[in-house]
């Protein structure tokens, strides 16, 4: 049984992430109407939002301790926030500003934060070996920390997935592999790309535990991750967790989603995991609706402040592009 503070915290983290993504969806469209131009507006480029996938990030990261490392994907915001990244610096990076994590050099797919040991990559599956290496370092350093690699179900068909699992298992590393199975890799449904139904079954090929969380439920994610983390911290090696989750929005903003029907999208919206959890907590009197509303309002204020910070921050000097290639 998860204690009530943790339950409230899980809800709060999911709501922060959702509010952030919804705000990003709006900001992203600034300057892109009436004619959509991907290069226009305060936030140009590709924008992959994770609305619907918050339970995975919140449930796993609530188990992490200071010093634990996380690698994420092209869809990183919910994970970065749940892992404690400074929202202002993150937002400023997404706006390409001097005050951003990488002074505007990285952008939304390249958020790097030494403080929270967070990194992500736009190359599918390629964050996984990095997490293996971070876990290797922790083991060599005797630190007791773990590394967590988040990846999509599409990534599980890359060589890097299989190599990472084998290495981690072989070297008994403190690393957790978390598959966010949102059923889609851009336009390709999972069953058209993956030879088996559940990626968690692939753990057997590497002799490590594989756990399946089948309905995007933050409680189940939290509890499953707790078991895997305990095992990792005890020096017993890696685990693979697969969560069936939902991508409520397009692959990227501006995606017309012609590959799935409006009904399919609405069905996902109706089973929104955050609303479900909020309701459950109200019903079990962990909080009342006024307190729930307060969480939403605080999240909105926090996100607004972060966006305001990003907007009002200066752009880096153009010539700064030429610096910083080497240490």
């Amino acid at each position: 049984m998860i204690d009530e503070d943790t339950q409230r915290e899980l809800l709060r983290q999911m709501i922060r992430a959702r509010v952030f993504e919804e705000a990003m969806a709006e900001v992203y469209m600034e300057g892109k109407t009436p004619a959509f131009d991907i290069a226009a507006g305060p936030v140009p480029g590709e924008m992959h939002l994770a609305a619907g996938q918050e339970p995975v990030a919140a449930g796993v990261c609530a188990n992490l301790r200071p010093g634990d490392a996380v690698t994420a994907t092209h869809r990183p915001h919910h994970i970065a926030l749940a892992h404690g990244m400074d929202m202002k610096k993150m937002t400023a990076e997404i706006f390409g500003k001097e005050t951003g994590l990488g002074h505007g050099k990285g952008g939304h797919m390249h958020l790097f934060d030494p403080e929270t040991h967070f990194g992500c990559s736009g190359i599918v599956a390629e964050g996984m070996p990095t997490a293996v290496g971070q876990a290797l370092a922790f083991k060599k350093q005797g630190k007791g920390n773990v590394a967590v690699a988040f990846f999509g179900e599409g990534a599980a068909n890359q060589g890097a997935f299989h190599e990472s699992l084998n290495l981690a298992a072989l070297w008994k590393l403190p690393v957790i592999f978390v598959c966010e199975d949102n059923a889609w890799a851009i336009s390709v449904p999972k069953d058209a790309a993956t030879a088996i139904g559940n990626n968690s079954d692939r753990a057997a090929a590497y002799g490590i535990p594989g756990a399946l969380v089948s309905d995007n439920d933050v409680t189940e994610v939290y509890e499953t991750a707790a078991v895997a983390l305990e095992r990792a911290r005890a020096g017993e090696g890696p685990s693979l967790i697969e969560v069936k989750t939902d991508r409520l929005l397009g692959h990227f903003q501006g995606d017309a989603q012609l590959y799935r029907t409006q009904e399919q999208i609405e069905e996902l919206e109706q089973r929104d995991a955050i609303r479900r959890y909020e309701q459950a907590l109200v019903e079990s009197e962990v909080l009342d609706s006024a307190e729930a509303l307060e969480i939403w309002n605080r999240a909105r204020a926090e996100v607004e402040e972060a966006i305001e910070f990003a907007r009002s921050s200066p752009y880096p000097a153009p010539e700064s592009a030429l610096t910083g290639v080497f240490a």
Binding site: A35, N157, G254, P316
Partner: protein
């Protein structure tokens, strides 16, 4: 144009539609042609490079793949060896890192290693280029990296006409061909509009010979050599230069391998001045190769040291002002050309 006119009806097509038309015509003609890649089916290619093909040819010949580039590009190599003519799409050229072994150790070398006994007739199509804040892993051009490695042809169209003719040539070629299309020349509705991305294209099939450069604008004062989107920038620069009384020649290489060295030497011999514009990283790449070609072949005709305007040797920054600072544009091209002419 150095290409023969076909005499058939032309229509206005975007570069992406011209490219798709060539693929479709070759698929009609040759049952051994098939196409695979990520999101090439229902989606029609992230950059519309396969739009409508699934509806026409079905999932047996237009195959959506898992995200397994080593697997399916390597499979294209195998299928090619057995007599098929696969087209494999690498969604962004930046992703080459996860499958380069299949490309340069297998696709590019098997013909040579087999003493000529095996052919690898396949095409890899790939999107390249930046300018729209897609960051360091989704904005590169990288054609220089591939051109450096022997055994594969490199074609880089700049416009709809060439896109169709080069695609037809690439599919018919008995060698592996990498076909680079710049996102900014495809004529996509969601990118910054580019009037040069739409042009008259003959309906009947035709070939643009691989390895032949094209003089897009003839001039007598300075030769600007480049490829793809930078051809458009160079043409804009040439228009501005004309107002200053500088007559610039713009040479579109269209292929890097084989490189039309004769065309470079010929143009520089006439103008006496060379500027290479390159969206790829500056060092060890196209700009160096073109300048060397000019020095080797037209040294005595050069009135000034050749110049280059390339992407600086830094990863591509996300932030717009930083990225734009690094990219050559019509103004910076014209400025360097002026310096060159006034030197």
């Amino acid at each position: 144009m150095t290409t023969a006119e076909t005499g058939s009806e032309t229509r206005l097509l975007t570069t992406s539609k011209a490219m798709v038309e060539a693929i479709a015509q070759e698929m009609e003609r040759d049952p051994s042609v098939f196409l695979m890649g990520e999101d090439v089916g229902v989606y029609g290619g992230i950059f519309s490079s396969t739009e409508g093909l699934l509806e026409r040819f079905g999932p047996e010949r237009i195959m959506d793949t898992p995200i397994s580039e080593t697997g399916f590009i390597g499979a294209a190599v195998g299928a090619a060896i057995e007599g098929m003519r696969p087209i494999a799409e690498l969604m962004f050229v930046d992703f080459f890192g996860v499958c380069m072994d299949q490309i340069y150790n297998h696709m590019a070398k098997i013909h040579y290693e087999s003493g000529g006994n095996l052919n690898v007739p396949m095409v890899i199509t790939t999107a390249m280029g930046g300018g729209y804040s897609d960051g360091a892993q989704h904005s590169q051009t990288l054609y220089g990296t591939f051109a450096h490695l022997p055994g594969m042809k490199i074609v880089i169209p700049s416009n709809p006409y060439d896109a169709k003719g080069l695609m037809t040539a690439a599919i018919q070629d008995d060698n592996p061909v990498l076909y680079f299309f710049h996102k900014g020349i495809m004529g996509l509705g969601w990118m910054t509009p580019n009037p040069r991305a739409t042009d008259h294209v003959p309906e009947a099939p035709y070939v643009v010979e691989i390895g032949k450069a094209d003089v897009k604008r003839s001039g007598s004062d300075v030769t600007i050599v480049t490829v793809s989107l930078m051809v458009h920038r160079a043409l804009d620069a040439a228009e501005a230069l004309a107002k200053d009384g500088i007559d610039a020649e713009v040479l579109d290489l269209r292929s890097l391998v084989p490189l039309d060295r004769e065309a470079i030497v010929d143009s520089v011999t006439r103008t006496g001045r060379l500027l290479v514009v390159d969206e790829d990283y500056q060092s060890f790449g196209m700009s160096g190769e073109v300048i060397t070609t000019a020095i080797e072949g037209a040294f005595d005709y050069l009135d000034a040291p050749p110049r280059r305007l390339a992407y600086p040797d830094v990863p591509i920054p996300y932030s717009n002002p930083l990225e734009q600072f690094c990219l050559p544009n019509a103004e910076s091209i014209a400025a360097v050309a002026r310096e060159l002419v006034n030197a």
